[in-house]
Symmetry: D2
Subunit: 254 residues, 4 copies
């Protein structure tokens, strides 16, 4: 039986590529996303075409009970979740305070902070009973710096980061590796960056950063580091790292 890698937020960017990388590395990847059954099926087919195994699930993670039910059913029916990737984002673009509704602010927290807490509450007891487990969390610049227009996103990501630290403090000594991965730049993914910028600006950006597009974070390359982190020996664990393209883009404002 293959070890299971569960991915929450498995779109065409980081989540999907990490699922694919773990499948290539001998895991059975369970890919969850909110919508786009077709895209999900295509991703599973790609993985199977590469000789791996995966399954895909549509799931609205912010709905009550969804994550909890998912964890129990995977643990019972498929096998122990050895690796989980929490990859839900809460980026809604830059919005002034006046344009950030209570609803948007709360939704940011429900997706980026509370869903992580729910996942940890549901899954970590299983990992704890096995004395091992890998808990990867995709995060963002907004977790360490609150830029203008990021009220909802930064508040949610700041909470996410501190939660990763409290989880690490309690569970690293019990053999559970929690990693907070700061994605500090734009990821080259049509369904997130593409949607945020619009097709035209997205294409212009890709052209601007050069032929090989390495001025954007290439998600298949990011996935290599996720895979590495998940396989560090427990004498040498990384809790936090950043990832960004080599070239400094003006809109990072680092």
């Amino acid at each position: 039986m293959k070890p299971v890698c569960l991915v929450l937020g498995a779109g065409a960017g980081i989540g999907g590529n990490v699922g694919r990388r773990f499948a290539a590395g001998g895991y059975h990847s369970i890919l969850c996303r909110r919508s786009d059954r077709e895209g999900l099926d295509k991703l599973v087919a790609q993985i199977e075409g590469d000789g791996g195994t995966a399954s895909g699930l549509l799931l609205n993670a912010v709905e009550e009970g969804t994550i909890e039910t998912l964890v129990e059913s995977v643990e019972q029916d498929t096998g122990p979740i050895e690796v989980v990737l929490f990859n839900l984002g809460a980026q809604i673009g830059d919005r002034s305070l006046a344009d950030t509704s209570y609803k948007a602010f709360e939704l940011g927290w429900r997706m980026a902070t509370f869903a992580l807490f729910r996942l940890a509450s549901a899954l970590i007891p299983h990992m704890e009973s096995r004395g091992r487990g890998v808990f990867l969390v995709t995060s963002a610049t907004a977790a360490v710096r609150g830029n203008a227009g990021q009220h909802s996103h930064a508040a949610a990501m700041g909470g996410r980061r501190m939660l990763c630290q409290t989880l690490n403090a309690e569970f690293a000594p019990k053999g559970i590796h929690i990693a907070h991965i700061i994605i500090d730049g734009p990821v080259d993914a049509p369904d997130t960056l593409g949607r945020m910028l619009g097709a035209e600006r997205y294409q212009a950006l890709r052209e601007e950063v050069g032929m090989d597009n390495d001025g954007l974070l290439v998600p298949s390359e990011l996935a290599e580091t996720y895979f590495h982190i998940a396989h560090q020996h427990r004498s040498a664990w990384t809790h936090e790292l950043d990832l960004r393209p080599y070239s400094d883009r003006p809109w990072w404002n680092h």
Copy 2:
């Protein structure tokens, strides 16, 4: 007409003492807390005894609409809120993940992060129209480091800190001074530390740290720095600072 200083979370510790300091400095302090009408009346009486003016309000800040209504009624009936202190805490003591309920986690966020966002949304437009205002936010070690057992508190405070940064990024250039004040140690307040430790341990601790108790954060002394920060010239504003007793106590784990 005196300038107004509004305090959310005006207990016997930081909030009450800051209200008293501003009243001594010429403000009309409006002191809000969730319960203990008697204690609140006593605080108002003290301020009046010192020759200042204040009013006291019982208010459940996490209830829908309370903060919003408060801000509007103060602005209309009392006068422009020149200084606000957001002093709601969300410390629930150390609890393992297993002992941290969804309800407790959410309540932490509602008090420590979302209530701040609501206050900012309600009040900052008034300050913005005046081109000035001071927004003081009490924070905690948990905003910068997630220690074991602090899942709810640290997630909420991490969100609070990043929100202060996004507010600062948008509104400092518009003349609104936002300060994130990291209280990095135990405050000598009977109604918070006293309640958390129990009367006996609290008394033992006060004795242990010495006759003049300056191994605990003395809230009337903290209030001096709050008052100073609120009166910095806008050419020289502090956004973040820490405050702690001179003596290193083992339970800070710095």
Copy 3:
């Protein structure tokens, strides 16, 4: 006998203004700078004109033995140094790696890091024997973020910040207040910013930021916060804070 406030790096910007503020607050200020006897005399005359007392010394702080001798002679001849401000800068403007000589890199360290260590080694034993003392250290953005072109400055300031933390760890419990003050923006001082930019760009900048110049850090206003920090009760000490103008200037790159 007045308490003594010793200022290392007392030019027309922060150092001179802090010296003046402490003199106004009842201290005898001892102002040290490397050159410009005339400017120094003028500063002392200003302070005396305000009704305070001060003395001025020319001193090359990087020269062997100068700081050590100064501390001993002040302690013996003038009185206990209650407050010291270490205000030596090491900003040499933006230089590429290729344009940063070994000599410039070493000089940055000698001024910004090693001179602080020497001052601490000479002065803190006196403060320790008295069980009190205030040690104010002016620092810079470069202490917390290494921007392009700042090789010498950032390396020196990063060392300065960590040294302030180790001094605080050892001596705060012994009653010595060490404060690391991050000046995060340009100070409106003719002899530093003015020299760095040249007279014309300096004047243009002052005009650009407005009539009252509060888009630059006004050193007399900064001095108010230095004075406040030095007088915090030891139950509520600040170790680190930032200071910047309210208005976000593009060249800060925050």
Copy 4:
């Protein structure tokens, strides 16, 4: 011709193991350390026994000109240095301020900060002309937090960290990957930890942390992450990460 991996500070801990890992990965490793010709020869023999190639050099890196000459001669005689590991430490154990001599403080800087600047000045122009290069820097907890007794070490490491950031700011966009690797715990190396603790305490510690010793940082495991970081695609580079054993040891004081 194999790509060259140059290691400064190639003892029996991190440096030697990284050299061995890169040799196993197809590099020619050039191992430099200050003393112990015998140990160095043994290390080279091990690498050759594994089927790799390496050479060993005794070198006092703090001596004038040594690093500069080394870089030039390797570039001319052996081949382009594709990867460099700067692994010089400056840990001298905990010492009070009174017990930290000027000489010790300066030596810390010469080894941990200035030697890195010299290496960068000598090597980066070569890397820049090739449009690529990997610059790995071993760092320590002391780079981000100044604990008691670490005056020399923390000042040097704080400078090291900021220098890594300024190098990254200037050279990442030119294709040079600079990584600041925070070793946040004790490394299981007989010639550093063993010497610092003494043989008896070292052995006791190894027994205390368990049979498989994974409560100490195992250097061969650390080396896997160094190797991974060096091979990240330039669209997804890590600039800073931490490494520590899973189990919380009391003397980390995190």
